[in-house]
């Protein structure tokens, strides 16, 4: 998954990517059902979902731009602005909270240089956010870095994990 921070250049759904979207549409009796998968494609290609991209997919699937915006703002995983190259999500819901998740967050904020949740580090490499239950409660504390799960993260393991990221 790329995280372009430059403005998106032109339409997303051209060529093979358009074919990909159409193949997805064929799975459902209604084109609008391809919206969530389509938004994932946009995020995969551009790193985030811009208003222009929302407008584009609205036109392709036959729903309004307002509808697409309502969907994008509902689901937390779609980024509405560019984020760091390594988007780090830390689960802090109570089962993980009881196992030191807050310490993991603090350590990550410090070691990445982000300082604050939701803020991209100055070098553009990292954004750290807290998320709700990641469904890996027995492996506290789980974190996701882009699409990868890291389980049983402790403050001590943070430097090693970060060192492996470009």
């Amino acid at each position: 998954m790329t995280h372009e921070t430059t403005a998106d250049a032109g339409p997303v759904f051209i060529g093979t990517i358009r074919e990909e979207l159409e193949a997805i549409c064929a799975r459902y009796p209604s084109r609008q059902a391809a919206l969530l998968p389509g938004l994932w494609i946009i995020q995969r290609e551009r790193g985030w979902v811009s208003p222009a991209a929302m407008e584009e997919i609205a036109g392709l699937l036959g729903c309004s731009a307002a509808h697409v915006k309502g969907v994008v703002t509902f689901y937390t995983m779609y980024h509405q602005h560019p984020v760091g190259r390594h988007f780090i999500q830390v689960c802090t819901t109570s089962p993980c909270g009881a196992c030191g998740a807050d310490d993991v967050v603090r350590t990550l904020l410090e070691k990445t240089g982000c300082g604050e949740l939701g803020v991209t580090s100055a070098d553009g490499r990292f954004t750290v956010i807290e998320v709700e239950c990641l469904g890996a409660c027995g492996f506290a504390t789980p974190i996701m870095i882009n699409d990868e799960f890291h389980e049983s993260v402790t403050p001590a393991r943070v430097p090693t994990i970060l060192a492996q990221l470009k």
Binding site: A66, H67, K69, G70, T73
Partner: protein, 520 residues
């Protein structure tokens, strides 16, 4: 089409029978029980989200949302119990915790359903001690402002734009208590019927820019009327403060406009207050016009008309009553009656309502004029004969070549605003009232005759057209039905076959159709 079977149930001790599929909330209305609600609206698809309408249904384990629960045979429903009161009090409390204490500056105050129900069933004090959520005000385009802090997320506006206007430009954005109504950039509320969301909003979250900070709801006098801007004949409420029209709103009429009014009709009320019009009779003396009193004016009018043939240029803006008396005048004096109607733009329908559109015919009573025997024409002066008295009623004759007037023996004008070129040639100008200064009836494009009532007093000596022409007929020695519009209409109904059987009582405030049989 099979009719659904009837279902009998009891609501608050009152027995009621309604077709299967009816909601408990609608069934309750029929026996005079109002179940408090916000998100429900008869013209919109059911959402069931505000949770205000929860009622107790005997033998059901949980409170049921009355708007979203269909009636069942033998159901016993309670609207006022400890449980339902606590539930409603709870909803009101939840709606108020983030709601700003804006009543002193909020336009909705005095006509706010949050105020109303809180006063009726809410807590007297607030238990909320946390910071309130804040979002800045937004311009949604068109006439509409959105104040997110006041929004109770009933989603009526979203459902209206989606299903009735069929222009889905509004959404719910975000989640949880961060949610608010949103729109996509560059997609504004420009739909010709979008401003109805302001009426639909139960609170002061959606506001009319036009009405912003203009008047307080309790200062307004409200009068039932009919929109004069096109032939649809949407029912309206004219709201005045101190004899000035400050707002127009739709009045419910299932057969004409349901609950809606188009933005153009809604906005077009300023002319009703204009003072650049004739308010005294003006009689030509030499080269100039002089103000005259009523007696003199009527005597002059009568002598100008006498029994010479009249060429009446009537107006599709005139009431049926006025047109009827002009028709009587033509009958005794000889001559003819014509009218022009401005047609412009394109039809702008409200797709979710059958047969509702802003019509291209921009006048309220063209159908009435036709039924009353006036001829529609684009060239109203063409048939003026030598020696005619030309009587121009409520028509400024804009863009019409006035040269044929030279053939006339006299030109008489009756109306509100007179163009200088016409004024020059008129021997007398009689001031008439406009639609909000009189009562009368119009006939819409489908032949529905609808009453409109007087909302403000007319200036100086302006009088309704039917009053002036009743007086004229009296002076000409012709029989007249008198000076009471109900009586004039009675005579109209007796003498003009399409209107047979109608009366003001019969029309009420929802109107009635002319007889279809009489081939018009």
């Amino acid at each position: 089409m099979t009719t659904p079977p009837m279902v009998s149930l009891t609501i608050e001790g009152r027995p009621v029978a309604v077709p299967a599929g009816t909601s408990i909330l609608e069934a309750a209305k029929q026996v005079g029980v109002l179940i408090p609600h916000y998100c429900y609206h008869p013209a919109l698809p059911v959402a069931g989200v505000c949770r205000m309408c929860l009622v107790e249904v005997e033998k059901a384990p949980k409170l049921a949302p009355a708007c979203a629960t269909a009636v069942a045979e033998g159901q016993v429903v309670h609207v006022h119990t400890d449980a339902t009161h606590k539930a409603r009090e709870g909803v009101l409390e939840f709606l108020l915790i983030n709601h700003p204490l804006d009543c002193p500056i909020c336009d909705q105050a005095g006509e706010c359903e949050l105020q109303d129900y809180t006063f009726q069933e809410g807590r007297a004090t607030s238990r909320y001690e946390e910071p309130k959520r804040f979002n800045p005000m937004e311009d949604f385009g068109g006439d509409v402002l959105y104040v997110p802090n006041r929004c109770i997320l009933c989603t009526r506006c979203v459902r209206f734009m989606d299903d009735v206007a069929q222009d889905p430009v509004l959404n719910v954005s975000e989640r949880g208590d961060r949610a608010l109504i949103g729109k996509a950039p560059d997609h504004d509320l420009t739909h010709p019927w979008a401003a109805n969301v302001v009426d639909l909003c139960p609170v002061g979250a959606l506001l009319s820019k036009d009405f912003l900070n203009k008047a307080r709801a309790w200062e307004l006098d409200r009068t039932a009327s009919v929109c004069p801007n096109c032939s649809q004949g949407c029912n309206t409420i004219v709201e005045t403060r101190d004899n000035v029209v400050v707002r127009l709103r739709p009045r419910a009429n299932e057969a004409v406009n349901q609950h809606f009014l188009c933005d153009a009709g809604r906005a077009d009320y300023r002319w009703m207050n204009r003072t650049d019009r004739i308010v005294h009779p003006l009689i030509k003396v030499g080269a100039e016009h002089r103000e005259a009193g009523w007696e003199v004016a009527m005597a002059t009018l009568a002598s100008a008309v006498r029994t010479r043939p009249v060429h009446v240029v009537a107006s599709a803006h005139s009431s049926n009553e006025t047109l009827f008396l002009l028709r009587a005048l033509i009958a005794i004096a000889g001559g003819r009656g014509v009218f022009t109607v401005r047609s412009e733009g394109v039809e702008e329908p409200l797709p979710g309502v059958p047969d509702l559109a802003r019509r291209t015919e921009r006048a309220p009573n063209a159908r009435g004029a036709e039924l009353l025997g006036f001829t529609r024409t684009a060239d109203p002066l063409r048939e003026v004969q030598d020696g005619d008295v030309v009587l121009v009623v409520d028509d400024a004759l804009e863009g019409i070549d006035l040269a044929p007037l030279a053939r006339a023996d006299a030109v008489v004008f009756a109306g509100t605003v007179i163009a200088p070129a016409l004024a020059q040639r008129a021997v007398i100008a009689i001031p008439l009232t406009n639609v909000v200064e009189e009562e009368g009836t119009f006939t819409n494009l489908r032949g529905r005759v609808q009453r409109y009532l007087q909302a403000k007093t007319p200036p100086a000596l302006a009088r309704p057209g039917w009053f002036v022409f009743a007086e004229l007929l009296r002076r000409l020695g012709a029989p007249t039905p008198g000076f009471v519009p109900a009586d004039i209409f009675q005579a109209l109904a007796a003498q003009v076959p399409p209107f047979e059987g109608l009366s003001y009582d019969q029309l009420g405030l929802q109107g009635a159709l002319v007889r279809a049989e009489v081939g018009v």
